[in-house]
């Protein structure tokens, strides 16, 4: 049985996710709710530390950061699973760490997924169709996905996500 991979951003499950799930025919499919802990910020902090010599991020800070990231990610996925259950969909969750676009594509390429559902931009970003209307994660997924991608565009801040999304065929 193949699954629909739903990318869940750091803000968690919002109306976008509900609209996504409702717009995909769920019968006979499992949802794979996937969230990636973006480790780019750790890289940024290393970058900043480059100017102040000889002091890498201390071990206790790395542990604090790791715990905060895991706690937030776990609750994000739990919330998304609650939404999926409310819609009567069977679901599994998957938690990764790294660069989100790359990790999602790698997961999809591993087999067992027939579709990736992803928001065009982070929820806080303004939607403006045209060039640069995709966020970096969606851009990477659209460019590299081995399976079709359902790209969700919101109509604007505060409104419900629209289900008039296109399904671009990747490759």
């Amino acid at each position: 049985m193949s699954a629909v991979l739903v990318a869940v951003s750091e803000v968690g499950a919002g109306p976008e996710l509900e609209a996504a799930l409702a717009s995909v025919r769920l019968a006979g499919r499992t949802l794979l709710l996937a969230h990636v802990i973006d480790n780019g910020a750790r890289g940024d902090m290393e970058l900043i530390r480059g100017r102040f010599l000889g002091r890498p991020l201390p071990g206790h800070r790395l542990r604090d950061i790791g715990a905060a990231e895991r706690d937030a990610a776990t609750s994000i996925l739990a919330e998304a699973a609650t939404v999926a259950e409310r819609l009567g969909a069977g679901c599994e969750t998957w938690l990764g760490e790294g660069e989100p676009g790359r990790e999602l594509v790698r997961l999809a390429a591993g087999g067992g997924c027939e579709l990736i559902v992803i928001g065009a931009r982070p929820p806080e970003a303004e939607l403006r169709p045209g060039p640069h209307s995709l966020g970096s994660t969606a851009r990477f997924v659209v460019d590299h996905s081995p399976v079709p991608v359902l790209l969700l565009r919101r109509e604007g801040r505060g409104r419900r996500a629209s289900a008039h999304s296109v399904v671009p065929r990747a490759h």
Binding site: D44, L47, E124
Partner: protein, 420 residues
Amino acid sequence: MAGAVFGLVLLLVLTRPRRLNEALATLTGAAALLLLGLLSPLQAASTLAGQWNLLLFLVGLMLTAGLADAAGFFDAAAALAARSARGSGRLLLLAIFTVGALVTAFLSNDATALILTPVVYTLTTRLRLPPLPFLFATTFVADTASLTLPVSNPVNVLISDSLQLNLVAYAGHLLLASLLAVAVNAGLFLLLFRRQLRQRFEPSRALQPPRTRAEQRLFRLTTGGLGLIALAYVAASLARFPLGLVAIAGSALLAGLAALSGGLQPARVREHFSLTLLGYVSGLLLLVKGVELTGLTAGLVSLLLGFAQTPATAAAAGLLGAAVGSNVLNNLPASLVLISGAHAARLPESLLRPFLLGSLAGADIGPNLTPVGSLSTMLWLLIVRRRGLEVSARQYIKIGVMVTPAVLLTAGIALAVSFR
């Protein structure tokens, strides 16, 4: 010849072949100057002895920040910011700017950039807010607010020592510039990140496990100790008492208080201490002295001041020179070269102070233009191309280019006006 050695060392520090230790590079360069007879052992000894205040200050600063961190001071400050923001992303950004400016003013830019930044990242992750605006806020305010007091940046200690400024004279020229620079920086961030900051958050997500009684005691004593250190810094700057001694005494006080409450954790403090930094600065001091003896630094400053005849234009020349130098090299070597050159060129008193205070502003704020205010990271980025770093680094430069010129201009105008 000394210039060539200096250039070679800078190139090594910038490119870091085989992850060469920066201290090793500058100290080897300094040893080469001694071996080649370009710097006498006596000159070397007197140069280092002349900067004991800076070196002690750096030691005291690292220890104080480490002790404050081990006592949970920075986590408590971030938690306070989260509580006072009452669920608003915008207010949280402003609260973090405020905490960052205060930490920078009294504990220096190192403490904000190195300790507060990861604390704030942990906080925003728990609050499920987009982390970048807040990460940028702490990084930027560490530099922007570092004009505030002579202790807010090691560069300030160097320059106010070399000008023999007391706090009243210092604040007369730089306090308004600092406040305006922080305000402009915060305002521009609110504008640039307005979409991310619309988001509200649930403050209870950041709740910390309650402290044990012993931890509570350590935290209270350390906070009290930090208050005393802040007062001592102000009093010492007023009386022109060496800040290095205050920093060392302050760290001894905090260590004593921690030992008293049974919570001294040497390992946690050691994590914030870097011998590399001390070696690097010592080597740099010697290298710049060697270059100064050739007359190169004086020539550079004369060139920079080519058309500057008034205090305001001298301040502008210093600001631009230091800002560019800080982005090409790093702010410490850039300001050392300018200080050495300004004194060696025997600038008239009417131009010396504005030029060096302009350099101070440029060396403090300038690093915000590129990710770490130095070409080395840019080269490092190109070489290593670490995944995940690339996008934010580009965004970093974008934000730096949009925000930093306006902040520099604001500080520069306020500084120039203070000389009228």
